[in-house]
Amino acid sequence: MSPAPLAGATHGAATSRSERAWAVLATVLDPEVPVVSVVDLGIVREVIDEGEALTVVVTPTYSGCPATEVIEQSIVAALDAAGLGPTHIVMRRAPAWTSDWISATGRDNLRAYGIAPPGLVDASRGVALRFMPRAVAPLACPRCESMDTERLAAFGSTACKALWRCRACGEPFEHFKPI
């Protein structure tokens, strides 16, 4: 599955260095969710062409995300391979990343990969904190689209995912958490 090209990706040789960099970044995939590019995930905040070096501003998804360093290395390697380096990575924490920054393409790719994409954060915040039994916003199964699903655990195989189960098709699936 190829990520959707950005507007600047198809302009040919006339495009600027930073536009070409954005196009390359749209092919760099998140190592833990290898169907979503770092651009569709919303963690590349800015690309600055400062003559000598290209500065890529990246924000972490979670404080302890172990993929952060691999992502930085992948970005540098991809831009170097495209002849756009040298690249300088700047880690910018504020404003904090939110799952609302995942693009429509990113959400579609998550769903196709079997991970239910996150809803908007404000919608999940609107649900008051409750104790057992908890009212969790309903979620469609990414496989059969049934709404007859339940959350098994709030924490899944990576920091960004929760574990769900579909009662209709019987399959477990992951949910990319709104945060």
Partner: protein
């Protein structure tokens, strides 16, 4: 064995170490559940939360090291601060260094700390230190998930079987005396307020009590009475448990100085 480092007594550095060390030591305790939780979902949840806390600790300790250098001290990196300080130079509250106990004790402590940290991170988003404010903006979202997780389990255990309720009650009796330390104030807090670095932790006490009590009520428990006892981990005077924890946590860096993955 490499020499231990000591850190500046600068109040701003101390304020950050209290936060970073509380996250780091709780993370170490939660990581002890890896492979030992009652069900695999909880094994994963506890280690996920440990990972969040390590990430928060790394960021805050890094900032503490930078502040120390800005104030004329040595410039210690996150790894040096985590692995080369001795017990007396750690400033976590004693609550988080106590042995992990059973699952009920772990959940009750997580609840107390998550409610506290969520309140603290909320306030630190307005810190005069832009880096600390940015760290808080990220961490506050993670703390909310931690609080929700712990609250669910505390209610489920307290309102569960006779055995689970008895274990939760025992955990509350054991841990309650250590929770008061969170809100003890001193000159470090005064200085943080004066510079706009962060709030006095005592300012968070009312909201914390309300949040903690509401979960306890749902769990069929009541907030215990105040005790005179005050633990002193934030001041560097710890329980007998921290030394053993550090011996394990610091072993690799002490035996193979500067070792990296």
């Amino acid at each position: 064995m490499p020499s231990s480092i000591t850190v500046s007594s600068d109040p701003s550095v101390q304020y950050l170490l209290r936060i970073g060390d509380t996250c780091l030591i709780l993370a170490q305790r939660l990581a002890e559940w890896c492979g030992h939780a009652p069900i695999v979902e909880e094994d994963i949840a506890l280690t996920n939360m440990a990972l969040d806390l390590v990430g928060q600790a790394r960021a805050v300790l890094t900032r503490a090291g930078e502040l120390e250098a800005e104030h004329g001290g040595a410039r210690h990196g996150e790894d040096e601060l985590a692995f080369l300080r001795d017990e007396r130079d750690f400033h976590n509250c004693t609550l988080v260094e106590l042995p992990r106990g059973d699952f009920a004790a772990t959940m009750l402590r997580n609840l107390a700390v998550a409610i506290f940290l969520e309140l603290l991170w909320q306030r630190l988003q307005g810190s005069s230190d832009a880096e600390l404010a940015a760290i808080a903006g990220k961490a506050v979202k993670e703390a909310r998930y931690h609080r929700e997780h712990a609250a669910d389990w505390v209610v489920r255990l307290g309102d569960g079987t006779a055995e689970s309720a008895a274990r939760l009650k025992a955990a509350l009796d054991l841990l309650w005396p250590y929770m008061a330390e969170l809100f003890e104030g001193d000159g470090v807090d005064d200085q943080a307020v004066a510079t706009g670095l962060g709030p006095r932790w005592s300012e968070l006490q009312d909201d914390w009590r309300e949040g903690f009590a509401s979960v306890l009520t749902a769990a069929r428990l009541a907030l215990p009475a105040e005790r005179a006892f005050r633990s002193t981990g934030k001041l560097g005077r710890h329980s007998e448990h921290l030394g053993f924890l550090l011996a394990e946590m610091q072993h690799l860096q002490r035996s193979f100085p500067g070792g990296v993955w």
